[in-house]
Amino acid sequence: MIRRFSVLILLLALGIIFANLFIGYTPDTELNQTARYYAEHTASDIGATNIVTAIIVTYRGLDTLGEVTVLFLTAAIIGLVLSQGNKPSSSLQRQLPASGELLTTGSRLLVPLILLLGAYVFVNGHLTPGGGFQGGAIIASAALLLLLTDPLYRFSRRLITIIESISGLFFIGLGILGILLAGGFLDSRVLPTGELGSLFSAGLIPIIYSFVGLKVGAEFTSMLGNLAETEKS
């Protein structure tokens, strides 16, 4: 009773702070200085038409490095914590009823198409809305469809580890290449800017974002695979 009352008092105080923030907020009518710089200089310096992608990969590339590190830590911790509970001798496989014909045929048709859609989204990240993180999530949902069809399906641990490690190494390697050959870390002007709107433009951005997309997809797949392997008989 006292607990419920003090929770309500806390939420009331937070509500008053939020109301003050909301009343004091007036929307802008002109872009502020940082946004104007991004709007005017993206097309000529970077050559990407998607300004948000240009910000994430080149202008604020260090934030993306931090995010990739946090995701890597998360996948590693989940793999570590969940592997200590599995005893290798408890492998009585439960007899599940077989999935229906509709489900297996449908998933066999859909999984390559979903992988293709994911690859398309992260290769075209600099031209249309999309990018590495969205493409990686779409690839992980293809793995999820495989798990839903056959709940005892186990992903090959080696393949996921190899993809994730190589993508991470190449991401860092391309960043250091930016230091050696162009302005700074993750500067995309190592390759020529090219013509605005074509696929091979914007320097290194498609290559960097493809590696980020593969890494994110592999990490989400390994998270799902670890959680699925906790199914004991």
């Binding site: 992608t53 993180f133 999820l144």
Partner: protein, 86 residues
């Protein structure tokens, strides 16, 4: 055209608040997880109305898809859980 968009926005806002109340007060945890997935979906449409297509795509794929599946995986692994939800 503009009033239609604002009407859709108000409708989405009311739907989101109603679904949040369902999330807190319903008895079974499975229904609460489905309602959280629905909030993510409505938020993804509202991001589109706020002229942010990248964020809408990310929220739809990650928030509505992966989070709901992760929650249901773990719910399926704990059997005989305590059903006392306050």
């Amino acid at each position: 055209m503009n009033t239609i968009l604002i009407a859709i926005g108000v409708l989405l806002a009311i739907a989101m608040i109603f679904t949040a109340m369902i999330t807190i007060h319903v008895k079974r945890p499975a229904v609460a997880m489905l309602a959280a997935g629905m909030i993510s979906l409505f938020a993804s449409i509202m991001f589109l109305l706020l002229a942010a297509p990248d964020v809408a795509m990310t929220e739809a794929a990650i928030g509505s898809g992966l989070t709901t599946f992760l929650l249901f995986f773990v719910l399926g692994r704990v059997r005989g859980y305590d059903d006392e939800a306050e």
